[in-house]
Each structure stands twice: as structure tokens, then as C-alpha cells.
Subunit: 83 residues, 4 copies
């Protein structure tokens, strides 16, 4: 088994690591396709994906932090006449 | 059930779409953590994650295209003395 | 002058293109540093960069579209109790 | 002048920061368009933008590091039969 310089490990081990990563990347692509499908389904129902993404981001936030950012955004928008 | 204007669908349906997306995003985060772990494991063995990522990209490419790009890169590097 | 296969142009021309790109990329990096500095200055004054970025995005939007998205976001947030 | 809570500064100052950022972002967009134009010009001459980007990245690297990565990539490619 040819040892790869600087690693003390061989081609076989490198291949195993690469193949494990490839399987996980494949699963990740499939999941991202599923997510895309759900947004497409929601859009077909009349919902707006761009706004849904904002909702998902907001729901993942700490509720106090969300309120703080809401208040700050309102203050800045008022200050700049961005209504 | 309050219907959401412009959608003909209600809050319940919107909640279901959002919760499906959140579950899939959670799975995706877990997968990305697994991928990160494999690279860390490989690094601990002495392999170089940055080069492994190039290998993963190259293995995903069409072999003829990879050879074409190899040849072109060599040509440009020679032309610019980038050896 | 060595002609680069498939291009009918030589190393010198490739070098000129690459050097033009490098100069522009350098200018771009300097601009990005300037932008970062302004946010840092604003932060030191007490403003919140994250909210300022939202303001910059909103000001770049068509005003009617912004109002539409505001209304939709409010509707979805109410439907999901995200207040 | 209305002072913005938590900042001790007013709407006018916030506006100035935002406008400075907008001018810099505008210059950045113009530069990115210039970079895109140079790649398009090079492509029209027969050069391959994707390979040119690799060359730009490589030229920005420390030469010894580039050689090290070249050698490692070759070793991994040989170990995986990726020729």
C-alpha cells in the first residue's frame, strides 16, 4: 500500500475519506432539492418564498433579539423616511 | 381559519410549509456538521482538507473536461511563468 | 511570440488581461475596506451595522415593492404569531 | 434634530453614513462590471475565463505554498487514479 507523504496513511484511507464525503454531499444535494420543492409547492399555493425565508430566519432567532431588531429597524426607517 | 390574502390558503397551511422547511434545514445542518467532521478526521490523519476539496470537485467533473482544463491550465501557467 | 493554442493570441495578451483584472480586483478590495471602515465608524457612533445593511437594501428597492413586502411579512408574522 | 435612541446621534448622521455606503457600493458595482467586461473581452479573444480565474488566484498565492499545493494535489490525484 503506497503511503502518502506527510500522512503516514495510504491511498486506501484517502479514498475512504473522499467517498464518505461524496456520499454526504450527495445526501445534502438531495435535501436541498427537497427544500426547493417545498418552496415551489408553497408558491403554487400562493405563498411568497422570499417572505417565507425571512419568516424561517426570524423563527430561528431569539425572540427578544428579534423584537430589539424590529424596534431598531423601525427607528432607522422613521429617521430616514423609509415608510 | 383566517385565509391569508392572495393565497386562498390559511395560517395552518403556511405553518405546515414553514415547519417542513425547518425540519429539512435542520437535517441539512446536521449533514454539514458530518461533512466537517470527516474533513477534521482526515486532517488528524495528516491529509489536507483544502486539497481534498479540490479532489472531490475534480471527481465530480466529466473526465474529458477535467483533462481539457488540466491542459489549458498548464498552458496558461507556462505562458505566464507560473511554475 | 508563443501563440496559445485555441486562441490565436499570445502570452503577452494573456498577461495584459490578467494584469488588468488584478488591478481592478485590487481597487475592489480597497473599496470593500472603505465600506467596512464606514460601518465601523457608524458602529462607534452607536449605530447597528446589521440594521444599517437592511436599510441600504431597502433603499435600493422600488418603494411600492418594499411596501408590498412589508405588508406580506406582517401578514405572515401575524398568521404565525411571530410578534 | 431627533436623536436616535442608544446612539446619541441623529437622523442626519445616520443618513450621511448610509449615503457614504451607497456611494461606495455604487463604485464597487461599477468595478465588478469592469472586471466582467475584461473577462468577456478575453473570452472573445479565445481565452477561458474559468482558467484565468484560477491563474489570478494562483498568482496571488505565495509561490512556495503554490508549489507545495501543486505537489500535494499531484500526489492525491495519483493515489486516486485521477489522471
Amino acid at each position: 500500500m503506497s503511503v502518502i507523504p506527510g500522512t503516514g496513511a495510504g491511498a486506501e484511507q484517502l479514498t475512504q475519506f473522499i467517498e464518505r464525503i461524496e456520499r454526504l454531499e450527495e445526501e445534502k444535494r438531495a435535501l436541498m432539492a427537497d427544500i426547493k420543492d417545498v418552496y415551489a409547492e408553497a408558491k403554487a399555493t400562493g405563498f411568497e418564498p422570499k417572505i417565507m425565508r425571512q419568516i424561517v430566519r426570524m423563527r430561528a432567532m431569539d425572540r427578544d433579539l428579534l423584537s430589539e431588531q424590529d424596534a431598531l429597524l423601525d427607528t432607522y426607517r422613521d429617521a430616514l423616511g423609509l415608510r
